[in-house]
């Protein structure tokens, strides 16, 4: 395939789509599918056929539209009309509304002008909810693979890296390492064989951005990886994906097959000398494999245990070859950066955190789902404007970002801008983008215990501070929640947190104390209530002292 073929496919696809007066899009990402979106789609199709309207209206399965809580979602005609919680029985009402402009039942009408939709800025998710993730033609029609062709025919590797560096993009896996710098290191590493790895082992509980990107727009990730391969001089890529995401894996497999048969992956891409192959490797449920050296050990077929760095994977990674590891969202940012230029990307966001970030908004918030916002937006805007606030008139207590490695941010910091440095300054991290909102029904000691339990179970056991430290901290937190702890335990807990942070081998242990540290810092009164009064303010834990008082 060459650039003309690509343009032809794009033109043909657009032309055949334009034949229809209306297009009804049904979300077929995992969230809506579990609410029977596939049946809704089938029913819409058969209803249209029955009415003889299948030539003027098309039904299309598309990726995630974001507002997962209101699924299954259906939208029509450039998202002017949107429907929520659609059942197969609503199919005819949807068609009446789209084609004959009849008002649909209020229960299924969704306001497409909600802040949730209008306040977003979509770069990574620009195709999510728009294209059919299982059709490469759809992706090509949305300027897909244009960036790859531009790169391999017009740019030198250093020219690509220059754009990425200019964009100011930082690793979206959580740590925020400058992507351009990482690419330069791998580029400079002298070796005949290099690899590109896409980290799709989204193990953070409460995060589902990568899953959604892979399910909604898999080709974007493949294109980003191929561009990276060209830039750093690698001809082979691996996607390390969670086995718990069967739909994402299925769509990735389809996408790879389509790209290969169209000559967009494999040998001599675009009739040039550039070869790039991508293989999928399945994770097997180990959180620690999100750490890059553990991930490499896992691809090599072993137990996923990390090793000390340096040497960094950029110098010695997979099978000791220089390896570029980036997260799904990082790769998904690459095609638009190349298409529109690094300067354009750098114009979005804040001084030190450029571009947009996808967040998975969940927990005690009205609009749970996926959002993409420019860096620098405040937490308050995310939770109260896009998220629609706390349901049932309850009071906001904290927002947890960054999963087990992040912290709980209390109300007083709701107006800080969301960027890597501001979040770090209040003890949390950007993380991969999970954002869990908690209200007064959540007990912060219980939350700290929950994350510590997670880290304790997921610790690979290689280094002592993490293996033993997380267990000890969990024991103390358990004692506190049971009302069996004293003030001395609090001091011990504080000491342990700094020890585990300083002495652990990898990121898992080094960040494991974060949820505990932030809750100790901002919610000490809750800890004291458990210890001194034997009372859980949220009523989640059952400290024994409290039960004695009530006379149970």
């Amino acid at each position: 395939m060459n650039q003309d073929d690509l343009a032809n496919i794009a033109a043909q696809t657009k032309q055949s789509d334009n034949r229809y007066d209306h297009v009804i899009k049904v979300c077929v990402a995992a969230g809506c599918l579990s609410a029977n979106a596939d049946q809704v789609k089938t029913q819409l199709e058969s209803e249209l056929k029955q009415r003889g309207l299948e030539t003027c209206c098309k039904v299309k399965g598309v990726g995630c539209m974001g507002l997962c809580a209101a699924g299954p979602l259906v939208s029509a005609d450039a998202n002017e009309k949107m429907f929520q919680a659609v059942t197969p029985a609503d199919a005819s009402a949807v068609i009446d509304s789209v084609i004959d402009n009849k008002p649909a039942p209020a229960a299924i009408v969704m306001d497409s002008q909600l802040d949730f939709f209008t306040c977003q800025k979509k770069v990574v998710l620009e195709n999510s909810g728009e294209i059919d993730p299982e059709r490469i033609e759809d992706y090509i029609a949305a300027d897909g693979y244009e960036a790859l062709f531009h790169v391999i025919t017009k740019l030198k590797p250093l020219g690509v890296i220059e754009q990425v560096t200019k964009s100011g993009l930082r690793g979206r896996g959580g740590a925020g390492f400058p992507t351009g710098l990482k690419w330069t290191t791998v580029y400079k590493a002298g070796a005949a064989q290099k690899y590109v790895i896409c980290n799709a082992d989204e193990g953070d509980p409460g995060a589902f951005m990568d899953r959604s990107v892979l399910e909604s727009d898999p080709h974007r990730v493949l294109e980003g990886m191929a561009i990276a391969g060209y830039a750093v001089g690698a001809n082979k890529g691996f996607i390390y994906c969670r086995a718990e995401y069967p739909l994402a894996v299925k769509r990735l497999r389809i996408a790879i097959r389509q790209a290969e048969s169209n000559g967009l992956l494999g040998m001599n891409i675009g009739d040039t000398h550039f070869d790039f192959k991508i293989e999928i490797r399945l994770g097997a449920g180990a959180f620690v494999c999100g750490e890059e050296t553990a991930l490499i050990a896992s691809i090599e077929g072993g137990r996923g245990t990390p090793r000390p760095r340096p040497p960094f994977p950029a110098q010695q990674g997979l099978w000791n070859a220089p390896t570029l590891i980036n997260n799904v969202e990082t790769f998904a940012n690459i095609p638009p950066i190349i298409r529109r230029g690094g300067d354009w990307y750098a114009s979005i966001g804040t001084d030190k955190s450029k571009g947009t970030k996808v967040f998975a908004l969940a927990g005690r918030v009205k609009n749970t789902g996926l959002i993409e916002v420019p860096m620098g937006i405040t937490l308050r805007d995310i939770i109260f404007k896009l998220g629609g606030g706390i349901p049932e008139g309850r009071k906001f207590k904290a927002v947890q970002s960054g999963g087990p490695s992040g912290g709980c941010v209390p109300e007083q910091f709701l107006d800080i801008p969301v960027d890597y440095d501001s979040l770090a300054s209040v003890g949390s991290i950007m993380g991969s983008g999970g954002m869990i909102v908690m209200d007064e029904t959540s007990c912060m000691v219980d939350v700290a215990k929950f994350f510590m339990d997670f880290c304790m179970t997921e610790s690979c056991g290689k280094c002592v501070p993490c293996r033993v430290g997380t267990t000890q901290m969990h024991n103390i937190l358990e004692r506190i929640s049971e009302g069996q702890a004293g003030t001395k335990d609090l001091e011990l807990l504080q000491r342990l947190t700094s020890m585990v942070k300083a002495a652990s081998l990898c990121g898992l242990g080094q960040t494991a104390p974060n949820p505990t540290l932030t809750t100790l810092r901002y919610f000490m009164d809750e800890y004291r209530a458990h210890i001194e009064e034997g009372r859980c303010p949220a009523g989640i834990c059952h400290p024994v002292k409290a039960e004695a008082e009530v006379g149970v």
Partner: protein
């Protein structure tokens, strides 16, 4: 094909081993294909047996100790046969906040098994997941591979009872037929 791979034959006559053999062949019997192959074994047979681990070890020329180490390191692999039905309660953060523990307790009460266990009649396995990535639908539960969202203690109890009752009903009808 490598000569070492040809010398070992599968642990049983079961035709499904061909699927596993095919997977190993596709990876050229390379030791680094271990996890991929274990995935195939579990997908094919439902769980990993000792025989399977030994067969994979010899075929890929990986020490059995390493194969066992890998199989037990990763949570996704199980060496226990799953029940006829499975119920996986998500215990991710969003689900935890929205009461996953109560759901877990409800199942434990109704089916009288703890997490990770299977009922005595092999009817139902109760498992937990770290996060299904269905946080928008929290709390979420997977019944027999199908994700269901916004579960309440009532709805999960009801669903669990159908799994259990169904089996009892089936055994009852069987015994009636036997009487005839």
């Amino acid at each position: 094909m490598l000569p070492t791979a040809k010398t070992v034959s599968p642990p049983s006559e079961d035709k499904r081993w061909k699927i596993v053999d095919g997977m190993m062949r596709r990876h050229g019997h390379e030791p680094h294909a271990l996890i991929e192959v274990l995935h195939t074994v579990q997908e094919t047979f439902g769980f990993l047996t000792d025989d399977a681990l030994k067969y994979v070890a010899v075929s890929l020329r990986v020490p059995y100790s390493k194969v066992y180490g890998v199989a037990t390191f990763y949570h996704f692999f199980t060496m226990k046969p799953p029940g006829k039905h499975t119920c996986v309660v998500c215990t991710g953060t969003a689900c935890h906040i929205k009461g996953a523990t109560m759901l877990l307790n409800a199942v434990q009460e109704t089916a009288r098994i703890k997490q990770g266990e299977t009922t005595k009649d092999g009817n139902l396995s109760l498992l937990t997941a770290r996060c299904l990535g269905s946080c928008g639908l929290a709390p979420a539960v997977v019944f027999d591979g199908q994700v269901a969202g916004k579960i309440t203690t009532e709805s999960i109890k009801k669903r669990i009872r159908t799994f259990l009752d169904q089996e009892e009903l089936e055994s009852e009808t069987l015994s009636v037929e036997e009487h005839k």
